[in-house]
C-alpha cells in the first residue's frame, strides 16, 4: 500500500495484521520526507529518534504488551508546540536554537498512546500569517500546486499531511490558522472549543484566542486525534471539562443555519456554487436549512486584529534575548539598547508589525478607543452566535473566500488579513469549528472547504455533520 493512501484507521489495521512494522512505516515516512520535502519545505526539524521509538513499539507488539491507540502512527507537530528534546523555533530566528525542556500536554497525550512524532512543521513566524510565506526558515509550498500557498499559519502541518508524509498533524488556530490551510490543502481541520484542549507547552500568541487542534485526511482521523488530546489540564488554567457529557444526538433532524453575512460578493462564485450543491444534497437527506443573520460579522475581523495584536505584543515581550536564545553578539551600551537591537534583528516584518500595532492599541490615550472598544464588540459578536444557536443546531459557512492563491500574490498586509474573514469570529466567540473539504473547483483546480460552527463543546455535532458531508462529496 502506498504511504499517501494510508489513513490512521487503515495504518492501524495494517500494523495489527503485520502487513508492515512500525519501523518500516517510520522509515518509509522519513525516506519520503528526505526525497521530497526540499521542494515543499513542510518540516523545520525532524525527530532523529523516531526510528528508535518505532522499534520499541514493534518490540511491545512482539512481546504482546498492550499498545496505545496511536501506536506507530506517524504524526507531525507545528513548531510552536513543545516536544521535549527537539528544537522549537516558532518559525522565528529568535528561537532558532531553542530546545524544548518539556513536552506540551498534547504531546504527553499523543506519546502515551504511542504515536510517533516525525518532526516539527514550518509555520508563519510565531503563527502570524495566513499563507505560510512568513517563516524565518523559508516558505512552505502547497503540495497540490507548488506555485500556490498552503495557507497558514499551520502551513507545514497541512502540507505534510496533504502530500502524504504523515497521517495527521497538530496545528494551532488563533484566527483561522488550522481551518484555512486545511481548506487550501483539501484536509479536515478542527479548531476545538476554547479551553477544550490544553495549551500548556504551546508558544503563546494571543491567549484569549489560541487553541490547538488536529489536521487530518478525513473526519474520523481528526475526531480520533481530538479525542486523545482533549481534556482539562492542571497546567492550563483556561482548560475546562464540559459540564454536560452525555449528549443526546439529534442526528436525524439537525437544523442548520446559513448566515447571510457569509455569502457575500467577495466569495468566489465557484466556491459558492459548490456549497449550494452540498446544501441541496443535505436537504434531500432531510436536513433542515434556515437562513440566519449574524449582524456584527463585518466587525469581526477589525475587532480580532485589535485584540490579537494587543495580546501578541504582550506575549512576545518575553523574547528579550536573555533567556531563550543563543548568545547574540550585539554592541550595546545597556540592556534596553540590547533588547531593541536584538528584537529588530530577530523578529520578521509581520511580527514587528503586530507588536507595534498591539503596543499602539494598548498605549495611553488610545486603549479606550481601540482595545476596550474591541472587547465590547467581541461581546456583540458572541451574542450574535448565542442568538443564532437558539434557532439552529449548527452553522455552515465557506471556510475561505477564495481557493489557495499564488505565492507572492498578496503583498499588502490588509489583503492578507482578509483571508480570515470567515474564520476570526469563531475565535472571538470561543466556539468550535471545522473545515471539511468539499472537493475541487476548476480553474484553478484546487480544493475548497466548508466551515461547520457548533455551540460550545458540541464537537460531536460537528463530526456528525462533517461525516455526512464527506459522504456526499465522495458519492
Amino acid at each position: 500500500m502506498k504511504l499517501s493512501d494510508l489513513t490512521i484507521a487503515k495504518a492501524k489495521e495494517c500494523l495489527i495484521d503485520k502487513k508492515f512494522s512500525c519501523q518500516e512505516l517510520t522509515e518509509n515516512v522519513l525516506g519520503e520526507i528526505n526525497k521530497r520535502d526540499k521542494e515543499i519545505n513542510s518540516f523545520i526539524n525532524l525527530n532523529e529518534k523516531a526510528i528508535d521509538e518505532a522499534k520499541s513499539i514493534d518490540q511491545k507488539i512482539l512481546v504482546g504488551k498492550e499498545i496505545g491507540k496511536l501506536a506507530g502512527i506517524p504524526l507531525a507537530i507545528k513548531d510552536n508546540i513543545l516536544v521535549k528534546g527537539l528544537k522549537c523555533t516558532a518559525g522565528s530566528k529568535m528561537l532558532e536554537e531553542y530546545v524544548a525542556p518539556y513536552n506540551a500536554t498534547v504531546i504527553e497525550k499523543l506519546k502515551k498512546e504511542d504515536a510517533i512524532i516525525i518532526g516539527k512543521t514550518n509555520l508563519d513566524e510565531f503563527a502570524m500569517g495566513s499563507s505560510g510565506e512568513y517563516s524565518a526558515f523559508g516558505l512552505t509550498k502547497n503540495p497540490l500546486d507548488p506555485e500556490r500557498v498552503p495557507g497558514g499559519s499551520s502551513a507545514g502541518s497541512a502540507a505534510s499531511v496533504a502530500v502524504g508524509f504523515v497521517l495527521g498533524a497538530l496545528g494551532s488556530d488563533t484566527g483561522g490558522s488550522i481551518r484555512q490551510p486545511a481548506a487550501f490543502c483539501g484536509l479536515v481541520g478542527l479548531k476545538p472549543t476554547y479551553g477544550r484542549v490544553s495549551r500548556y507547552g504551546l508558544i503563546a500568541m494571543a491567549s484569549s484566542l489560541d487553541q490547538i487542534g488536529p489536521l487530518a485526511k478525513n473526519v474520523d482521523d481528526a475526531e480520533f486525534i481530538f479525542n486523545i488530546i482533549k481534556g482539562k489540564d492542571q497546567s492550563d488554567s483556561t482548560s475546562i471539562e464540559p459540564r454536560i457529557t452525555n449528549y443526546q444526538l439529534p442526528i436525524t433532524d439537525l437544523k442548520i443555519g446559513l448566515p447571510k453575512e457569509y455569502f457575500i460578493n467577495q466569495l468566489n462564485i465557484k466556491i459558492k456554487n459548490r456549497i449550494d450543491e452540498i446544501i441541496k444534497k443535505l436537504e434531500k437527506l432531510g436536513t433542515k436549512i434556515e437562513k440566519i443573520s449574524l449582524p456584527h460579522t463585518d466587525y469581526a475581523l477589525p475587532c480580532y486584529h485589535i485584540i490579537m495584536d494587543a495580546e501578541a505584543s504582550s506575549n512576545l515581550a518575553r523574547y528579550d534575548g536573555v533567556r531563550f536564545s543563543k548568545l547574540k553578539k550585539i554592541k550595546s551600551e545597556n540592556i534596553f539598547d540590547f533588547y531593541s537591537e536584538l528584537r529588530d534583528k530577530e523578529f520578521g516584518p509581520e511580527v514587528k508589525r503586530r507588536i507595534m500595532l498591539g503596543t499602539f492599541v494598548l498605549s495611553s490615550g488610545y486603549k479606550d478607543n481601540y482595545y476596550l472598544k474591541a472587547q465590547r464588540v467581541r461581546q456583540l459578536i458572541k451574542k450574535d452566535f448565542e442568538e443564532a444557536f437558539k434557532k439552529v443546531d449548527l452553522i455552515l459557512t465557506p471556510t475561505t473566500p477564495t481557493p489557495a492563491f499564488k505565492i507572492g500574490e498578496k503583498q499588502n498586509p490588509v489583503d492578507l488579513y482578509l483571508c480570515d474573514i470567515f474564520l476570526a469570529a469563531v475565535n472571538l466567540a470561543g466556539l468550535p469549528a471545522v473545515s471539511v473539504p468539499i472537493g475541487k473547483i476548476v480553474e484553478p483546480e484546487m480544493p475548497v472547504g466548508l466551515q461547520i460552527i457548533a455551540p460550545y463543546f458540541r464537537e460531536d455535532l460537528i463530526f456528525n455533520l462533517a461525516k455526512k458531508i464527506e459522504k456526499i462529496v465522495k458519492a
Binding site: 531553542y98 525542556p101 485589535i306 529588530d344 507588536i355 499602539f360 465590547r376 488579513y417
Partner: protein
C-alpha cells in the same frame, strides 16, 4: 493619522529599534491598518454594557511558590545563553 514621531515612540515602548526606512514603512502601513480597524467606529456602542472579563475564579491557584529540584532548574536553564550557576547574566541596566 499617525505621525513618524508617534511610530518612533511606539517602537521605543515595544523595544524594537527601527531603521529609518522601517519607520517610513510602518507609518504608511499603520495608516492602512488603522483605516481597516476603524470600521468599529460605525457601531453604536451606547447600548453595550461595559466589558466584563468572564469569571474563571475557580481556576485561580494560591500564590505559593513551588519548590523545584536542581535538575528541573538546570533543564530550564539550558536555553539561557549567558549564565553563572543558577543566575542569568544580562547587560547592565544603565
Amino acid at each position: 493619522m499617525i505621525s513618524k514621531e508617534q511610530i518612533e515612540h511606539i517602537a521605543k515602548l515595544a523595544k524594537i529599534k527601527l531603521a529609518p526606512a522601517e519607520t517610513e514603512r510602518f507609518t504608511k502601513e499603520f495608516y492602512q491598518i488603522l483605516n481597516f480597524v476603524n470600521q468599529l467606529e460605525k457601531i453604536d456602542m451606547s447600548r453595550v454594557e461595559d466589558f466584563l472579563p468572564e469569571s474563571r475564579q475557580k481556576s485561580i491557584r494560591q500564590d505559593k511558590s513551588q519548590k523545584r529540584s536542581d535538575q528541573e532548574i538546570e533543564k530550564l536553564m539550558v536555553n539561557v545563553p549567558d549564565k553563572s550557576g543558577k543566575l542569568i547574566k544580562t547587560k547592565k541596566i544603565r
